[in-house]
């Protein structure tokens, strides 16, 4: 089984988010980066499928500036076999169609049996790239996947529906599957894995080499701090004062004590 995994590097959840001067993105100083949450689950699922089927290859692919190589290296240290980096000068790409096109042109010749991606990226939250890529490579697709079972020519996946419902769907391979957070418990890299990763290959491709000049379908004009609408009553003070006020509110305003 030859498996490709898309892992995106995104600002980690507790990074300070300051707007950059251009108003189009965040300033990256003081930002720490991490692998997108659902992508980390996708990578783990790929590694497990490889272990289960006992053969094949897991290839991690990432699009972004030079810094994303660290994310790829993390994937390699967890057990992925090699990496592909589509090098982009911008810190972000905001058109999912373009992102998927760049991946399609890069990965087409790999002829993966399976491509796993995260359900959505934690920065832009577009939730499209896995399905778009699957379409572009004529693969079957499924999203919101919470369990997988692989066989020779098909993959059976448990899809999450709304409100706590699920459904099993069987897809023909090759397939592009978007993984939902919580599907497994991602491993940590072992020391041996970290050492071994240094020797693994990361192939770098300039974005221009795989850009077929197609139009950008949507443009991110600016990012900004949202306007606050609701007036929340903020309770201030030291912990003891806050607690006393909360008790008062529980008694008088909310009447649960």
């Amino acid at each position: 089984m030859k498996i490709g995994v898309l892992t995106k590097q995104v600002p980690s959840a507790d990074s300070p988010l300051k707007l950059d001067g251009g108003g189009k993105w965040i300033g990256e100083e003081n930002v720490t980066f991490a692998i997108n949450e659902s992508d980390a689950y996708a990578l783990e699922e790929a590694l497990r499928i490889k272990e289960e089927t006992g053969d094949g290859e897991v290839v991690v692919a990432s699009l972004g500036p030079q810094r994303v190589q660290r994310g790829i290296r993390e994937g390699l240290s967890k057990g992925a076999d090699r990496g592909i980096h589509i090098e982009e000068s911008l810190p972000y790409t905001s058109d999912p169609f373009l992102t998927a096109t760049l991946f399609a042109n890069t990965l087409r010749n790999e002829s993966f049996d399976l491509i796993l991606s995260g359900l959505q990226s934690d920065d832009l939250g577009l939730g499209q790239v896995g399905v778009l890529l699957g379409e572009m490579l004529s693969m079957s697709t499924a999203t919101l996947v919470m369990e997988t079972g692989i066989s020779d020519s098909t993959i059976r996946v448990k899809r999450e529906l709304e409100g706590g419902w699920f459904q099993w769907t069987t897809l023909k391979l090759p397939a592009s599957i978007s993984i939902q957070s919580g599907i497994n418990t991602p491993r940590y890299p072992s020391l041996k894995g970290i050492m071994g990763a240094k020797k693994k290959e990361i192939r770098s491709i300039a974005r221009n080499e795989v850009d077929d000049g197609g139009a950008t379908l949507q443009t991110l004009r600016k990012v900004y701090i949202p306007q606050k609408v609701k007036r929340t009553e903020m309770i201030e003070g030291e912990a003891d004062q806050v607690v006393a006020k909360l008790i008062d509110i529980f008694k008088r305003d909310i009447k649960v004590l």
Binding site: G127, L217, R221, A244, I254
Partner: protein
Amino acid sequence: MDILVVLEHKNGTMHRASMEAIAAGQSLARDLGQTVSVLAMGEDTSQMAQEASAKDVMEVLTAEHPLLKDYSADGYAKVLTQVIEAESPKYVIMGHTYMVRDFLPKVSAALRKPLLGDNIAYRIEDGSIIFTKQVFAGKLSADVVPNGDPPYLVTFQSAAFQEDAAAEGNGAAVRPVEVNLESGHISTTSEEPFQETTTTVDLASADVIVSVGRGIGKEENLSMIKALAEALGGQIASSRPVVDAGWLPPYHQVGSSGQTVAPTLYLALGISGAIQHVVGMKGSKNVVVINKDSDAPLFEIADFGVVGDILEIIPKLTEAVKAA
């Protein structure tokens, strides 16, 4: 055709996001001076079509086929693509539901037209349209514009438009459209939907809910939450990452993929306020939020808010509740 709102249903009943999408379509139609039509897809769309034709829309299209009886991404994408090609709408509008996430990018790929997803608003500036969505887990907003010629595929986040804002009309005409679908078009087979866990915790009828998020840091700290919930006589709930980590069983999860709750008090501890969580608890009568980040989006819907460290506050609060 100008604006086409595409409906979604479960066993024939319209999804509430579809009614919100009709309201969005009507609003857009007013602002752009355009007309709005709706499309119902399925094996038998009569119930949905009837409901939609009571709304203030120009026309109700129905796309019926036996292969649309059960949802498949391939089937729905194929049929919607055909309808868009035949009718040439400028905007195609849907709610940002799980089903739409699953199949609408396929339509975008087939038509090579943009899918602008999960918007919370739109506005018109100098005659062109700008959509707004949340980015960075709701901490920032982004303005996004479509490029090139229509159609543009657009989805709106839950509650971006109000269901009851969908204006009534006087009986729009229903027009069946032609559908070409063969079983060979559908590369998947699906089994019956099911629910995983029988809910042993009745969050829906709880009066007090103490809800915990990733801010709790580690599993050991959950005992703190249990003590507080016990002191308050309330139930424990959580955001998704707490369940994903295996710290609480799934039936504690509140949100779009978990339970919907409406207690008298929803005490949210270390929860940031992602929309998928908020949809499950925004009906709560009183929301009290404790979070160390003053910019956490959940403060937006809080009645009372504390910027502080839950690990410090919870034990003290538990003692004070016991003493009260």
